[in-house]
Symmetry: C2
Subunit: 505 residues, 2 copies
């Protein structure tokens, strides 16, 4: 009998799994034993600043430990943190903490098995081939950016062949690049190859030129051979954790790979998917991109993590946490508030419960997860488990394919940021950028409206100014960028950094 | 009893070994069982072009298979090939071929366990911190280059912060960077930290500023935690092969890590070290840098590989092969010519033997190693085995520390390229570059003469023009570059590319 073990090989302190092969095997063997796990999203309140986490990963780890303690076969799917950002000190790692930790956090935080490095090399190789295509007269402008996992403000704008050609290029962070998106969204190596072939390298006489026209795909798939395999590790309490895909749900999709979630659902009854930042970021992207446009599983429940201080200590921004919770409940996703306490905050529990009741939340789950881990959660999960076990079949939303990019952003602004269509503004140059994107797509033989929308924004704000009164909040659109291979169109909002190169600290 | 297994953890299809820990254990336990293996260099004829290998890796693999077949415990230590160069098509992989292959060539050729990517990220992070130091007024010029594993001609010269600061920077290939050299030469993580601290980030008011003055070393050692561990794999016939360190012995040191060789010597009786390109490149660097300045083991024998066509088909260049063989014999290293036949060349064996005899070589070892692997070699190794078993203790050469960089280059030109001191020329600007390097080192508190010399040259030529008559051949010095952390000084010869960014093909 073939089992997951046939697709697993030992890889350092973690295991690497051939998820493509396993899912293909399940497809070809519909009677093979498998589970049909339910997806639960763990998302969070909008952080007060990007570098301050609410504790999503810690919560995710504590939650699967608590569920497994209750006899429920639960696993988590995490995104690999960016080593460059961690090493630069811009952000901590992403492997939980205290009693809610992974067995080998150092491995997860410091490069895992080279997945990010491989994606970086592969996308940079594409740029090298684009440069060669310029030399050969196939291209006159390069549109695909170089990537770097290491942040550097100076890389926001670079010129290569400096002193001669002075070719202006762009560098983006590896986790946010189109090739990472392709790895996250693809369900086979063939699909990766097809998507790379559709990536727009640049233009010649104003017309899109794709990599499929001049690059041998084996070069890319060769580099990615190992990076497409999810890593399997575990919590200090033995609960299974899969790590695959890149972070940064504000400036990219920032979700785990679709295959890692599908594989986990075939192996476990409950699969916790970590959706970065708030419902305006990672959760919005899981629901509106992964589920709606790429056939991922709609969540059967959600947990929205906050810190007591984030929720309550800045009254001007305290509208955001209930907005996140209500947004998901409004989508018929049973949503559980979870307050992750810091040391010395235990005495706030009664007041937090009272506030939650006033807001008509479900009973909040409250605990110091760093200190107490899953033990703090297990006794509070009755309602959550009931929803998972007895809930109705998840919804299947309708695709927005064919909706214009502006209508699409307006829809997101209204539903995910609470800003109505008439307060979606265009910055100077936005419409020109949109028109250029329309033309670029037409020249490549498809419509801009067929791409799924990725809103590119700051992680710490949902609108142009979250401190403005509700009826004055706006969202301003800045520019449009096509990721044809990934099947995505990026729209930058004013609150975003155009090239996300966080300051090193 | 502690054994190598205590330092070994499973890592994908290869194993990773904590060589630092194992060697430290042997040092602290002098009575622990260990071997005292002898080092054998496998080097080659100067190739007709860089992309054409003579078959060093194939020979190395066939050789250990043949020795093990004869009951001798032999292992090989290889350098990890550059994935970027392989994917770009500039050079094939480096995992042997045919019957002389590794079990998982795809793994070795396509990024191994992310070692190169980690070194790339770590050196680029240093550059990011140097940029931050510029912002903070600690530095006014950055001297440490960015790195890329992917070749790109356009990266030879770049400007970052383009349109504002227009800061000129350099990008070099990852395998050739100072941090790779530090990983290759260091015997503990502490030593790596100390060497990184001594790396010169740039200058302030003309004076050297080192990374130790402003970077927390945990950032770098954290990234390198796994990259410092040699990978263990094997040949298709089960002979052990360790892979660690970067290639390119023409533009850098290009030797395996010292700890991987020392570890192999503690575990096996014969350790084959692959020294890239000819005796003017990898072998020169093993002997004159690793052995003479960094206490590596002097080889007990050498094998110089050539292809019949390289040796004989270009009469103007046919002086080079005997030069290599005689150079090593002149150092009292018993040196065996090995001719690696291609298909259809078997009938050349008698003529090749006759030529070797005329040249007063030892009996040449001749075989089609791709087709026949170690079986072709085993019966020809009597003389080789006799030398290994009965040879005298290896020499211990005297350090050149304190010798001026120019005297040092003249010594290399005479001994390794056959060009006497009076035909070593200076290009315009060389002396100025040397003077600047002297000043830089003085401002950092040490002498340029204390650094070991790395000649940076083309892989395909030993002098300015190898086709010139012997008494007209010259070597021209172009510029000097200090790698203070690695303890090396680079001198570029005219035949080198200043930034080695091979054309992608």
């Amino acid at each position: 009998m073939t089992t997951i073990a046939d697709f697993t090989s030992q890889y350092g302190l973690v295991e690497k799994i051939d998820a493509f092969g396993y899912l293909d095997y399940l497809k070809k063997n519909p009677d093979a034993p498998r589970k049909h796990g339910k997806v639960v999203l763990v998302t969070a309140d909008t952080p007060l600043k990007a570098s301050r986490g609410e504790g999503k990963t810690t919560t995710t780890i504590a939650l699967i430990d608590a569920l497994n303690k209750r006899g429920i076969d639960a696993a988590a799917v995490l995104r690999q943190p960016s080593m460059g950002i961690t090493a630069a000190g811009s952000k901590g790692g992403a492997s939980g903490g205290g009693k809610a930790s992974l067995t080998h956090p150092e491995l997860i935080d410091w490069g895992l098995c080279g997945e990010m490095g491989a994606i970086e090399a592969a996308q940079n190789l594409l740029v090298s081939f684009a440069e060669k295509a310029v030399d050969e007269g196939r291209l006159d402008t390069i549109l695909v950016p170089r990537v770097s996992e290491v942040p550097s403000r100076s890389l926001r704008s670079i010129a290569v062949d400096y002193g001669k050609g002075d070719v202006k290029e762009k560098v983006v962070l590896t986790p946010t690049c189109e090739l990472m998106q392709i790895v996250v969204l693809s369900r086979s190596m063939d699909e990766i190859g097809q998507r790379v072939a559709k990536m727009i390298a640049g233009t010649k006489d104003g017309k899109a030129v794709t990599f499929g026209e001049f690059v041998d795909l084996w070069r890319i798939t060769g580099i990615l051979a190992d990076a497409v395999k999810p890593a399997k590790t575990e919590t200090v309490n033995g609960s299974p954790v899969y790590v695959h895909g890149g972070p940064f749900a504000n400036v990219s999709i920032g979700i785990p790979t679709l295959v890692s979630v599908e594989m986990a659902c075939a192996l476990h009854d409950v699969v916790i998917v970590e959706a970065g930042y708030g419902t305006d970021a990672g959760a919005q992207k899981w629901l509106d991109i992964a589920c709606r446009e790429f056939d991922a599983q709609w969540p059967s429940a959600a947990i929205v993590v906050t810190r007591a201080s984030t929720w309550r200590d800045d009254p001007e921004l305290s509208w955001r946490y209930p907005f996140h919770v209500n947004r998901l409940e409004g989508l018929d996703i049973p949503t559980f508030p979870l307050i992750n306490l810091w040391d010395g905050e235990d005495d706030q529990i009664p007041a937090l419960k009272e506030t939650a009741e006033k807001l008509e939340f479900r009973d909040p789950i409250i605990g110091n997860l760093y200190r107490d881990g899953g033990e703090a959660l297990a006794p509070q999960l009755d309602a959550f488990v009931d929803v998972i076990v007895n809930g109705s079949a998840p919804a299947r939303p309708h695709s927005h394919k064919g909706m214009s990019v502006i209508e699409n952003v307006k829809w997101v602004a209204e539903h995910a940021y609470g800003v109505p269509a008439d307060r979606v503004k265009f910055k100077d140059g936005f419409l020109a950028s949109r028109d250029e994107a329309v033309k670029l797509c037409e020249s490549a033989g498809f419509s801009l409206a067929d791409l799924a929308l990725v809103a590119v924004k700051s992680p710490a704000t949902m609108t142009d100014n979250d401190r403005a009164p509700e009826d004055e909040r706006t969202v301003t659109l800045k520019k449009v960028e096509v990721h044809a291979g990934a099947g995505l169109v990026h729209v930058n909002l004013t609150t975003s950094l155009t090239t996300p190169m966080p300051k090193i600290v």
